[in-house]
Symmetry: C2
């Protein structure tokens, strides 16, 4: 049994290495302008390869307009949903639970007061709602961007499923996970830092099942943990790529995370099923477009890899 | 060990079933005209799905011109290379050897005499040389077709690596195998019958290593087998999908071969790495275009599946 498992693990390591040698880059390549739809499909979406596209949304008014003052003026008394946590980790495994943030409704101005240090604050704030919050909740901002990325919509033959607005503190972190979307991530101001791992590194990434719980801030400003005993357990990655516990998750040492920084005016193409961990500079604003992925042979192969990864767990 | 192997086999079966349910068709779908390059990439090449395209080369003079008389007139005294075997099986496993045909040089007229039963013949004849024999050896015919398939060249961003001409007897068979090419197979006259298996059925398809040998016709018309003792063994599929030996290759019962017939005027898109077995009506003429495949994530995943398939061999 152990021998067979070792052979399986060896297959996974060779597969991951050969994949990187065959078609992945050591770092994330740049395109210097918006691509043609066919070329983008053939060179990036089809092969499931990330890239950073420059000069892709220079014409968006958002790039020059989205100062804190402008956003305050446009959105001032608007009530928005903000994720608040004691430590910056929303939707992440903490102390053996899948910890979800307090979803706090607050006016945009009061969020900006927190962001700009004008009020005493408790906890870390992050506008990170992924329900197409830009088009659904912030119509005041839609004139500053475009409703889709035309060459991407043409390449995929569909419109985006969601357009999301992101604004948060430096200590707000998005824990390692993957999405079943083709993702175009546009940084408007500040900088985002991504840690990326290809789907082919799945065998080295630990998953567990965790009981959900929610943070709730008490009157004195501290956070309590509200167990969600009736909720279904959530499969999530307990590993923190910023401080991987290689004693517990030894196989992660075979993974090859790639770090990339995306600056204001740049767009990251984050392919479907790539694992990603995200940080940002304080007050960074970003907009991302989620296009549904194609459930084709690549997805099937990934599902197989996912099942097989379970077989190497001791 | 046996338990682990059973779990691996179960993963493969589920994978193959889910793949078919997710994105493959029960039969090969038809397109009624030439597709646009982007759509063809997105809907067929990217997902690695076969289809039959009608009305894709109606304008080729070959369709009306390529009668036996015309070909005799154009090519009459031209010497061409013909694969000759006693049984129709060239490049196939027979009696534990990888049997290759006698590569016979003969004039086109003498081949046509054989095809038309005008001379006593021994063995089965097939023009099946896959070295771009149409452009390299038969320039007399190139004006009757096109040098490439424009929408395919545009979709892939490259020209074909090879354009091959096929002409053979009804009993000439191409044994089950796969190619690392995107293949457009155009039937000019007659009909070809393909048995197709997706790359995801790899775990159910047996491979072995076989010593090569070549057929040679003796003066009395019989064939002898010339061993190639110094040649490297060839990995090949010993299974005949027309009469699969399920006692010996039990896992093939989990495979789901799809049969498709391609008529004169139709073009089969046979995606890279699909297993195929081919027969034809007597005297069927065909031209196929081999475009090099992209060595991307799909290829990597296939290589993993290939390695893992080895682990389930008892």
């Amino acid at each position: 049994m152990a021998e067979k498992q070792d052979r399986l693990k060896k297959c996974f390591r060779e597969f991951s290495e050969e994949t990187r040698e065959l078609y992945l880059n050591q770092s994330i390549p740049y395109l210097e302008g918006p691509p043609a739809p066919l070329e983008f499909y053939r060179d990036w979406i089809g092969p499931n390869k990330p890239c950073i596209i420059r000069n892709a949304f220079n014409h968006w008014p958002a790039l020059s307009r989205w100062s804190p003052e402008y956003l305050r003026e446009k959105l001032g008394s608007k009530v928005i949903s903000v994720a608040v946590t004691p430590n910056g980790y929303a939707d992440a495994v903490t102390d053996g639970r899948f910890m979800m943030p307090e979803e706090r409704s607050m006016t945009f101005c009061s969020l900006m007061d927190v962001m700009e240090g004008k009020v005493e604050k408790h906890g870390v704030h992050y506008v990170q709602k992924q329900c197409s919050n830009l088009t659904e909740e912030l119509p005041e901002l839609t004139a500053d961007i475009e409703a889709d990325i035309p060459w991407m919509s043409q390449a995929l033959g569909r419109s985006p499923d969601a357009v999301n607005f992101w604004l948060g503190e430096a200590s707000a972190v998005t824990s390692l996970h993957k999405d079943h979307y083709e993702n175009l991530y546009c940084v408007i101001s500040g900088e985002k830092t991504f840690i990326l791992l290809p789907p082919t590194d799945r065998p080295f990434i630990p998953y567990g099942l965790y009981q959900p719980a929610v943070y709730r801030q008490t009157a004195d400003g501290d956070f309590e943990v509200v167990e969600q005993a009736d909720a279904k357990k959530v499969p999530w990655i307990p590993l923190d790529p910023l401080a991987p516990d290689l004693v517990r998750y030894g196989s992660y040492s075979s993974a090859r995370p790639v770090l990339c920084r995306v600056s204001a005016g740049e767009m990251l193409y984050l392919p479907s099923l790539w694992f990603h961990h995200v940080r940002q500079t304080h007050g960074c604003t970003a907009v991302n477009f989620w296009y549904d992925m194609d459930y084709d042979i690549k997805y099937s192969y990934y599902q197989l890899l996912d099942s097989l990864s379970g077989l190497t767990v001791s």
